[in-house]
Amino acid sequence: MTEPSLTGPPTNEPLLSVRDLVKTFPGRRSRTGRPGAPVRAVDGVSFDVGAGETLGLVGESGCGKSTTGRMIVRLLDPTSGTVTFDGTEIGGLSQARLRPHRRDLQMVFQDPYSSLNPRQTVSRIISEPLLVQGESATAARKRAAELMELVGLIPEHLDRYPHEFSGGQAQRIGIARALATSPRLVIADEPVSALDVSIQAQVVNLMERLQQELGLAYVFIAHDLSVVKRVCDRVAVMYLGRIVEIGDKAEVYGSPAHPYTRALLSAVPLPDPEAERTRERIVLLGDPPSPADPPPGCSFHPRCPKAQDLCRTERPLLRIAGPGTREAACHFPEVPGS
């Protein structure tokens, strides 16, 4: 761990550093009342996020994206592993000791309506995190009005209730709430997935503008690879609780090294009939397996078109694949130029 120093943390230190993060949920009881096998929802995830940077976290349903995000903001306690924020290990802090750090670390949720209390006015919703931090009600309301303006809503609507806003507007309220304490890192869990295409772009543009103006860092969780490509600097691809590929956007999207990343990218339908007719697609067999019963060796092997004997017995670890800095967890990664 780094020593606290008078000069502050060295500038090359990442803002957020996650190491070997694990979350195990107790198994669900089956119909016969027998407890199921425990679910390793997140199984040893590590990554860094620099100040002002966006890391995209992608992967299919149930791969552990939300669980990872929730552990970072401590809505969930990690089973093991560390979360270091700005030089302080916060993964194991009590909620009371965590409070001063809450300011810097906020979250935006997928469903704009269910994440906003329907009985509270927008003013109250946005002020909440400030009141928790001990700010006065007047100051909080003033700040709420500023934030409404910042996210492109009309400050006069402060006393309205969430249902009086459209989905895109409600998501802006969620973003305004997350920004109330001037955080340095925002975990955005599928912030645009529930929105219509024409509204998605409004929110994506807003998040990008706020990043530039306020120097925010984002962990942007989404299953839509096109949106993530748009917003992130670096991207991590998860499969069954683990990161299978991580690196700069250009490397991962431009020349994916892991067979799963390749399949995932090739499965995304392009809004271009010409390209759709001519492009080569890798269609995977089967569904993603259950995290309660992960396959041995490489957990992708039952669906991998390149699987060999080694893959069925030995778990591949993340390591540099190719000329750049991108890492992939595969025994036989696709390396550009090979």
Partner: protein
């Protein structure tokens, strides 16, 4: 030759305490055997209401217009007559397979149900048909899995079961309402391929409802873009993507983040939000969000606000409901 499905000036209205909701307000389209019509539009634009009306499933709503299957008028048909059409000649699959499968019956019983009714088949023949259908949609070990319950299947497999159920009676037309929206992309690719394969083998007509323009580009031959319960634009798929004429279609395409994008310029968002269906403004329902009318000369702008545009032809098979379409008329 009569077409497989012809819908003409379909209107569906719901009476609610807040007023009449004109969920679908005059749309027309046709589907030929072996072809796929993509029905796109944002949430609330009337896609599901349209498909339910075609299935005759709108009790409580006022449905006007004509819905003809092989030339036979379905609108106004009695429930009994509709029953022989539904499931037998038109089948439908929904977004959420779990809510449309019954938890207490085996998937085999559910697949066989319609088949047994329509073909007067006994239990044994029904089960055999179910096994055959499960095999056709790519479920491994169909003879064993036919006796399992929906909760024993994954999301992708349940959607396959739904497709097996829909196709067991060999319908001529399949209406698929967001069949892959709840699925992962890798599983979505499997399901879209499956539908395309069966369509080719059987010459099935398909109405594919989706809000995903990528899915439309992949599967559709013709496209109908809906906005606020009306048709904004209709065109062959290549034409729609290459030369969208309606400012809304154009706006949708521009606002999409794309995997094949090379630059990082901000997305061109469409400002504002979708229109009210209860008290629609007199003119074009897209006018409050339309950059084209704002930039237009005063008298053209006034026309957009006052007069509702109707679908007008631009090229063979290409129509747009816009006073100022982006493609000059008569130019191919």
């Amino acid at each position: 030759m009569t077409r497989l499905l012809e819908v003409e000036d379909l209107k569906v209205a719901f009476d609610t305490p807040r007023g009449t909701v004109r969920a679908v307000d005059g749309i027309s389209f046709a589907v030929e055997a072996g072809r796929t019509l993509g029905l796109v539009g944002e949430s609330g634009s009337g896609k599901s209401v349209t498909s339910l009306a075609v299935m005759g499933l709108h009790r409580g709503a006022t449905v006007t217009g004509s819905i003809r299957l092989h030339g036979q008028e379905l609108n106004g048909l009695g429930e009994k007559a509709l029953g022989t059409v539904r499931g037998r000649r038109i089948a439908m699959i929904f977004q959420d397979p779990l809510s449309s499968l019954h938890p207490f019956y085996t998937v085999g019983e559910q697949i066989a149900e319609h088949y047994r009714v329509h073909f007067r088949a006994n239990r044994k023949a029904g089960r055999a048909r179910a096994v055959e259908m499960l095999a056709e949609v790519g479920i491994p070990e169909p003879a064993r899995r036919v006796d399992e319950y929906p909760h024993q299947f994954s999301g992708g497999m349940r959607q396959r079961v739904m497709i097996a159920m829909a196709l067991a009676c060999e319908p001529d037309l399949l209406i698929a309402d967001e069949p892959t929206t709840a699925l992962d992309v890798t599983v979505q690719a499997q399901i879209l391929d499956l539908i395309a394969r069966i369509q080719q083998e059987r010459g099935l007509g398909v109405v594919m409802i989706t809000h995903d323009l990528g899915v439309v580009a992949r599967v559709a031959h013709e496209v109908l873009v809906m906005y606020g319960g009306r048709a904004a634009e209709q065109a062959p798929v290549e034409r729609l993507f290459a030369q969208p004429a309606h400012p809304y279609t154009r706006g949708l395409l521009d606002s999409l983040p794309r995997l094949d994008d090379t630059d990082d310029a901000p997305l061109r968002a469409i400002p504002g939000s979708p229109p009210s269906l209860i008290a629609p403004a007199p003119g074009c329902s897209f006018a409050p969000r339309c950059a084209r009318t704002t930039a237009a000369a005063a008298e053209e702008h006034a026309r957009c606000l006052a007069e509702r545009p109707v679908l007008g032809p631009l090229a063979p098979g290409h129509q747009a409901a816009c006073h100022l379409p982006l493609v000059p008329e008569g130019v191919l």
